[in-house]
């Protein structure tokens, strides 16, 4: 068994919710200890952000919440897993 400790996601999101709101919402999820959102690129209606999450992560839960916020995961750019 393994624990997902860190995830780096490339995410496309609308301007609203803001990066701050998105980070706060992700931080409320079970197991999430730290969230970092940084802007990569801005377009007319959308922006591309890099989200770094740390804690005892559940990828499916994160994906569901990100999609609920109107954003979509482009790619998983980094993963850290640990043995239990």
């Amino acid at each position: 068994m393994h624990t997902l400790r860190k995830l780096v996601l490339d995410v496309l999101k609308p301007f609203s919710p803001s990066a701050l709101e998105l980070a706060k919402r992700l931080l409320q999820l079970r197991g999430v200890k730290r969230v970092e959102v940084s802007l990569i690129e801005m377009d007319r209606d959308v922006e591309n952000v890099k989200i770094t999450l740390e804690g005892n992560l559940d990828y499916e839960l994160l994906k569901k919440e990100i999609e609920k916020l109107g954003a979509s995961i482009h790619s998983i750019d980094g993963v850290t897993v640990e043995k239990r």
Binding site: P14, S16, R44, D45, V46, E67, K68, L69, G70
Partner: protein
């Protein structure tokens, strides 16, 4: 706990600048409409020396309810259409459907909130203006005095709306209030002329 969190999120969303700004605009526009309609009816009754308080009240309340309904549904349909259009644009940029997303929920909440503000504000202000007429019926108040008091209240409310606009525009609120009250004066003058001519 979840309900409290959802409610606090809802309040936070409704206080967001964009929604508040639109709601404030609708509030002023439709409140002004509502009070002007009631004022025009009251002035007509005053100039034609109508003395049946119940008749006056029913006529004014019907007009207020009509303004409320037109405000609620007009604002809801137009806001909803605008926001749905914007959502579809966003879907194109996101290359995905935003069904059941936060954006769709927010668009729905904003449309309902704005529609309620737009519809209820003229009704509320009209009811305030008609308080003397209620007093006339239920407290056996003089009808002629109640009619004059309601007309005066309409002018006070119109001035208050102008005052509010002045505060928003960071101009002298008293000057703005006086300007908008003058429009009520124009209405009174036109109705007076109409009564003389007919």
């Amino acid at each position: 706990m979840k309900i409290i969190r959802n409610l606090s999120e809802l309040v936070q969303e409704l206080r967001s600048n964009e929604i508040n700004e639109i709601a404030r605009r609708y509030f002023v526009i439709n409140s002004f409409d509502g009070v002007m309609i009631v004022l025009s009816l009251l002035l007509s009754f005053f100039f034609t020396e109508q003395a049946d308080a119940r008749f006056i009240l029913i006529a004014c309340l019907s007009a207020s309810f009509a303004t409320m309904l037109s405000g609620i549904f007009g604002a809801y349909f137009s806001e909803s259409a605008e926001r749905t259009g914007r959502l579809r644009e966003l879907e194109k940029s996101m290359l995905r459907s935003l069904k059941n997303s936060e954006q769709e929920r927010r668009a729905r909440i904003a449309s309902v909130y704005i529609a309620l503000v737009d519809g209820l504000s003229p009704l509320l202000l009209s009811l305030v203006a008609l308080l003397p007429m209620f007093a006339c019926i239920y407290l056996s108040f003089s009808c002629s005095l109640a009619l004059r008091a309601s007309i005066a209240l309409c002018f006070v409310l119109i001035f208050a709306l102008g005052f509010l606009l002045g505060r928003i525009a960071k101009r002298n609120p008293f000057v703005e209030g006086a300007k908008i009250t003058a429009i009520g004066g124009v209405l009174a003058f036109v109705l007076f002329l109409l009564e003389r001519v007919s």
